[in-house]
């Protein structure tokens, strides 16, 4: 695979466990991509299209997801600690047991998302839409 860059077309790509740390993937099409356990620390994913992407267990620490579309994505147990996702769309995404500690989620759409057991300590949720989201206790202690 060639080194992916901004606007890359990675539709349905098999990137399980891939090392994409610090990569610039702004505006990339990653719809339905398999990014399970991928290393996406500090990656730039602004305005990226991640509809239905498999991101379970992925490390998105410090990644920039501003304005990205992550609707229907599976982020089960993903690490989004300190990530930016302002105005990002997480509707119907699975964020169960995800680490969202200190994540910037201002104006994010979390409609009907599964946030059961997610760690939202210090997460910035001003203006976020949590309509229909499920959020139960059971996440890691503060």
């Amino acid at each position: 695979m060639t080194d992916p860059g901004p606007g890359a077309d990675l539709y349905h790509a098999k990137l399980q466990g891939a090392d994409l740390r610090g990569k610039d993937l702004r505006g990339a099409n990653l719809a339905l991509a398999n990014l399970k356990d991928a290393q996406l620390t500090d990656a730039i994913l602004t305005e990226a299209f991640l509809f239905g992407a498999h991101l379970a267990g992925a490390d998105l620490t410090g990644a920039n997801l501003d304005g990205a579309d992550l609707s229907e994505a599976d982020l089960f147990g993903a690490n989004l600690r300190g990530a930016r996702a302002e105005g990002a769309d997480f509707r119907r995404a699975n964020l169960a047991l995800a680490n969202l500690r200190g994540a910037r989620l201002k104006g994010a759409i979390l409609r009907d998302a599964n946030l059961n057991g997610a760690d939202l300590v210090d997460a910035q949720l001003e203006g976020a839409d949590l309509t229909g989201a499920t959020l139960s206790e059971g996440g890691p202690a503060a």
Partner: protein, 161 residues
């Protein structure tokens, strides 16, 4: 449920994703906003790609998928529809019962009123009848409650005298 081959499971997955992508496309259209055209273009492309993937699936697997839909999915949906219909019929039945009960209560109320009038006549209180008319107690008169109370006081005083 018939056992699905991995290819058919893949096809079912694609169908589900296509349904979800179409739903998102409709949402983008409905929600509008400056980013809507770009988002819609993305979902349009996604729908096209998913449709192409589904069409590219081997005919043999499509036949297997069709069998799955016919043998497993359709009966399940039909069963669910039957259950819903039965539930609605049960609710309709309960509504009819409630209406009957209401009518019976109305009948009892009318009988009781007739007995009251009859007793009044026997007690020589017919000239006070109807109390409502005498005291201007139209059913929805704003002072109906107060006037009812006043009327009852007058009747009691008459009975005492």
């Amino acid at each position: 449920m018939s056992k699905m081959s991995p290819q058919v499971r893949w096809l079912v997955g694609l169908e589900n994703l296509l349904r979800k992508a179409k739903r998102r496309l409709r949402e983008c259209e409905r929600e509008g906003g400056p980013a809507a055209p770009r988002r819609m273009a993305r979902y349009d492309e996604l729908v096209t790609r998913l449709t192409a993937e589904i069409h590219a699936v081997d005919r043999r697997h499509l036949e297997e998928y069709l069998a799955y839909v016919e043998e497993s999915l359709l009966p399940r949906i039909a069963r669910k529809a039957d259950e819903t219909k039965a539930e609605m019929l049960e609710l309709a039945g309960r509504l009819v019962d409630a209406k009957h009960e209401l009518n019976e209560l109305r009948g009892e109320h009318t009988d009781a009123l007739e007995r009251v009038h009859s007793l009044r006549e026997k007690l020589g209180l017919a000239r006070f009848r109807p109390v409502e008319a005498r005291f201007g107690l139209e059913p929805h008169h704003p002072h109906a409650d107060r006037r009812t109370r006043d009327a009852h006081i007058l009747v009691r005083e008459f009975l005492k005298s």
